[in-house]
Amino acid sequence: MNGNMERIYNGIVKENPTFVMMLGMCPTLAVTTSVINGIGMGLSTTAVLVVSNLVISLLRKVIPDEVRLPAFIVIVASFVTVTELLMKAYLLDLYESLGVFIPLIVVNCIILGRAEAYASKNPPLLSIFDGLGMGIGFTLSLTAISFFRELLGAGTLCGVRVMPDFYQPIDMIVRAPGAFLILGLIALVMNALSIRTRANDMVNGEPCGMCPKDCAAKGGEECEKA
């Protein structure tokens, strides 16, 4: 049990996908306009992450090393499609407000990253907990960001007005530029407190060690074969 709890802790705190690893930035910036959207995006990603981690871990000895990335992508894409159809059937409002970011869970670095870095090398139960930890970490981060954005930008939480009447909502914060502003402020606080995150490496094109794209940033040569 200890190892499983360690995985959860790792996902939420030590390797928090959003605040420490800076992965999955596209949905982080795009859907955190309201708390409901943030939680919805986090939970649907968690669902895909847990199931795909389980399946990839079960198949880790069957999948040949050379074709593992396409195989992972097919597995992940299948579960994303299942999630998408389920949401369309039961949570239509959420499905419509998250829009294209539901199918785009396929290319979320967190999922392929965990498949490559963890699930393809570890037993099923640990991989489930790894996925769960990362998923919860992602959900909590999105919820936290969307909490501030919705509160300041619309004066509401989950659609209910909570700020006093005299508060004039800062519309820009729930619009596109506000996302960069809030993320910039988070990175600023992390910098000021000297908490080491991957944010500063990321903007310098340092690899996250998870996706082939890092090769390009590094100049390409050493990753020619990848």
Binding site: C26, A187, K213
Partner: protein, 191 residues
Amino acid sequence: MTNLLVIIMTCAFVNNVVLSQFLGICSFLGVSNSIKTSASLGGAVIFVMTIASAVASILYDFLLAPLGLDYLKTIVFILVIAALVQMVEMFLKKTSPGLYKALGIYLPLITTNCAVLGVALNNVTDGYNFIECVVSGFGTALGYTIAIVVLAGIREQIADNDIPKALQGAPIVLFCACLMGMAFFGFGSIG
């Protein structure tokens, strides 16, 4: 013709793929060190995104939609894009070494760029026909290139500035992106 022009303007400015739709953020922040690099990346994205939109449109109109396999589009598109990028890479390597040298190293990067998949999916949602899909793919990629080159330009300008320690690295880049986002937000009123 006006219709197509409107699509290009909308995709490139009003609904800028990076600054208002938040697709392709990783490379936008990561590969905007220098104007030269980001312009090459932008070129590669224009190339791939236009072709990918065309291929995705053909596949959807002639295979997925008639057979009622609409729900498979995510799986099909991501695999097609991954394979397409590989093929483009091999094709360029063989036929045009010069172009390959300029764009080659950026091609693997584009496979996982969510913008390419995002455009293909958005085209289907918007119900575009073949020509419109190609134009929208090109326009979106153009918007991506404009955004990343402008950010790279700003970053080159402020590289030697005396930036407060806590702002160095990611925060200043994100604040620049925020200001650019505000500027592009202004295009919204045109649309």
